[in-house]
């Protein structure tokens, strides 16, 4: 259903709403700033979620999708639980991450590459594998920076916080089927 406020437009706002469950709550934003005030990463964001919502309403696609705001989000959901208008803020930021990657505007951030490496292990083992994740991420993206991570990695190994070999979960097939279905649904929307 297209909301009356955005009727007849194939606007940026409309796209964000369509791609987010309960995204239409975005129309209720009263610009109070309880999201930006609550965010533990707020001080490091180019724009607070509130400001991003204002820009979405104003149709500033490029500026929004190139912002670091969505990549700074750590999914703590503080903003979402405190929002007086029940806007699914964290979910909207996920939508912006996807749109940003698709538009090739996710620059100056490691997050998409890290996410890809992470998903590679979830796809193949059903869970994260820290040693592999770090190795894969750095080798593929910035091999030189890997040297700096060495001492930390050794410490983690010494304390048993990281294992040498990845472990597979039981019934990996079932998880893969779930992920496959989710991907199909995601592509449809």
């Amino acid at each position: 259903m297209v909301h009356a406020a955005i009727r007849g437009e194939t606007s940026f706002l409309n796209e964000v709403i369509e791609e987010t469950p309960h995204g239409e709550r975005l129309l209720h934003c009263i610009q109070c700033g309880s999201c930006g005030g609550s965010c533990p990463n707020g001080p490091d964001m180019d724009y607070s979620p509130r400001a991003i919502f204002g820009m979405i309403q104003a149709g500033e696609r490029e500026r929004v999708l190139s912002a670091n705001t969505q990549w700074m989000c750590v999914s703590c959901y503080y903003c979402t639980t405190r929002c007086p208008q029940q806007i699914p803020i964290t979910d909207i930021l996920y939508t912006l991450k996807r749109m940003s990657v698709r538009a090739g505007l996710a620059k100056g951030t490691d997050a998409p590459a890290l996410a890809k490496s992470f998903v590679h292990y979830v796809d193949n083992y059903g869970r994260a594998f820290e040693l592999g994740l770090a190795t894969r991420f750095y080798l593929l993206n910035k091999p030189l920076a890997m040297v700096k991570m060495g001492p930390l990695g050794l410490k983690m190994l010494a304390h048993g916080r990281m294992s040498f070999l990845p472990t597979r979960i039981k019934n990996l097939k079932q998880l893969q089927a779930i992920i496959q279905k989710a991907r199909e649904l995601g592509e449809k929307s």
């Binding site: 009263i30 109070c32 930006g36 005030g37 609550s38 503080y78 405190r82 007086p84």
Partner: protein, 680 residues
Amino acid sequence: MAERIGVYVCHCGSNIAGIIDVEEVARWAGGNLQDVVVAKDYKFMCSSSGQQMIEEDIKNHQLTRVVVAACSPQLHERTFRRACKNAGLNPYLFQMANIREHISWVTTDKKAATEKAKSLVAAAVRRVRLHRPLEPLPVEVNPRTLVVGGGIAGIQAALELADAGYPVILLEREPSIGGHMAQFDKTFPTLDCSACILTPRMSEAGQHPNITLLTYSELEEVSGSVGHFKVKIRKRARYVREDRCTGCGICVEKCPTKVRDDVFEAGLGVRKSIYIPFAQAVPRIPVLDTEHCIYFTRGKCQICGKFCPTDAIDYDQKDQILEYEVGNIILATGWKMFDCTRIPQYGYGRLPNVFTAMEFERMCNAAGPTGGKIVLRDGKTEPRRVAIIHCVGSRDVNYNEYCSGICCMAALKYGHLVLEKTNAEVYSFYIDMRTNQKGYEEFYQRLLEEGMKFIRGKVAEVTNADRSEEEKGRLVVQVEDTLTGRQRRIPVDMVILMGALEPQEDAMDLARKVGISCSSAGWFTERHPKLDPVATMTDGVFVAGCCQGPKDIPASVAQGAAAAARVAGLISRRTVWIEPVVASIDESKCSGCRICNNLCPFNAIEYDEQEGVSRVITALCKGCGTCIAACPAKAIAGNHFADDQILAELEGALWDASPEALLATFGKKEEQLELKVLNV
């Protein structure tokens, strides 16, 4: 003899005619409906020329029944009944079809709308044919009025009526009248001393010969209807004899207990177990709180009784049930403050120097627990910086969606008081500044001039977890300053939470007792939001002040006076005419089973032991129809809602429900399926 029916279809400007083809509906009614001799459409049926048209047609065409298809009968049924009456036709031989609220305002499908309009007109025509002439019933109006709630709205209403010479019962559940206004220090935007303007009204109400003041009392039960309500009031035991007490206060002085006063002092101060809530209380008669009294809890003490010079303490006093008959009821039960502990990130109840607005009111009051000094919870330290947080529990769908309306102005008032009484800085954290009454915006300007600081942003949290030297040992308000787009942390010493105004806990119960309705939030519903703001859907029950929705003092006083004026109007008429839409029992069919007796929600059916039959007390009956449906012998009939009338109406509404009729109207079968409105 066949009836002669006139049908009038209103355009209501474009309200109806924009969606419904009104000319077609009128033409169709004239050509297809039995006994219809005149069928017309007209721009505004409710205009005087529209009414005149009906009157002339009744005379010229000898009409015996009239149907108007227009808006809700709530709005204009009376208008058209009057037109019928003017032309010599019994007003109950009229029926209204609501084609605006029920059709044109709720669909954009013009074709379906026109067809549904035909159905509703057909229903009204078939029904009106079976209408019987009725006469309204006269009811004497008892001149006494019950005012529930002794805050400023209730006091105003009571004084207006009492000054007009009518008797009033002013009911208050706390030990004194005065309400929230008695707790305040100053009132915005004029900064009048609240007590100075309120207490003269309180004592006037307390001493007025026409006002019976019942404090520490609550409404138990209401029966009857406009003109003659019967009310039961529980007068709770004070354990102090009002006829003997002189209000000297020796009992209070001698009482050895100390109890936190959560009501008048908002938890900030203490009182005794036997207490007068505040110095100017009306009546000045103490109340004994048995929950904390040493004698009542441990069986020994009675110091108050020993010292009372007039022997007024009565430890054996019991609650009394008082019964009165009143003609009208005014509800002015006020509001309660939002429980600020519900928003944990603001720290109320956990961080000592976070205060509620009511606590701050008491703190500012010279007669309050700190003697009017603005100090931290330790009772002595003056704050260096104060934060005032707006919209705590208001404008937030997680708590209350509505704007409480008065908090912006109260926050400005607090800002002024802090700047006046201390050397502290004051910050206001607001979402939108709402100062839209007389003199309010000017007050905002004044505070800008006085140096109050304003940060536009809803506060994220108040914390004592410091991150810098400056924050150490203080409260930190974390917020996005939305005007700069930056997150800020502002160290302060005191935080004031502007809690929302909420309906009283038991507002819904009271509404049920008197038979009115509430909004989903719990505010009492007025008869019409614009044109009838103090009446309710129940005749003889009026509302005033915050029980109808958050409002400031001037608006509460205006509503109190308005409700009183409405009541005075009813009293001066002496007789009100009520709808003859009541039930009646055919005694020859009644078996005396008494099923209806207990089902009647208005206690309007009495049982005649001697004859062994039930009878309806017409003056109490509201015509709800419960008894009619329940009677196993079908001995009860409802005026104006008789079985034959309702069945005829249904037949009319379903005139086109046969497959042939649908096909004739809409053509192809597939199209019928899309017309959900008609196929249900």
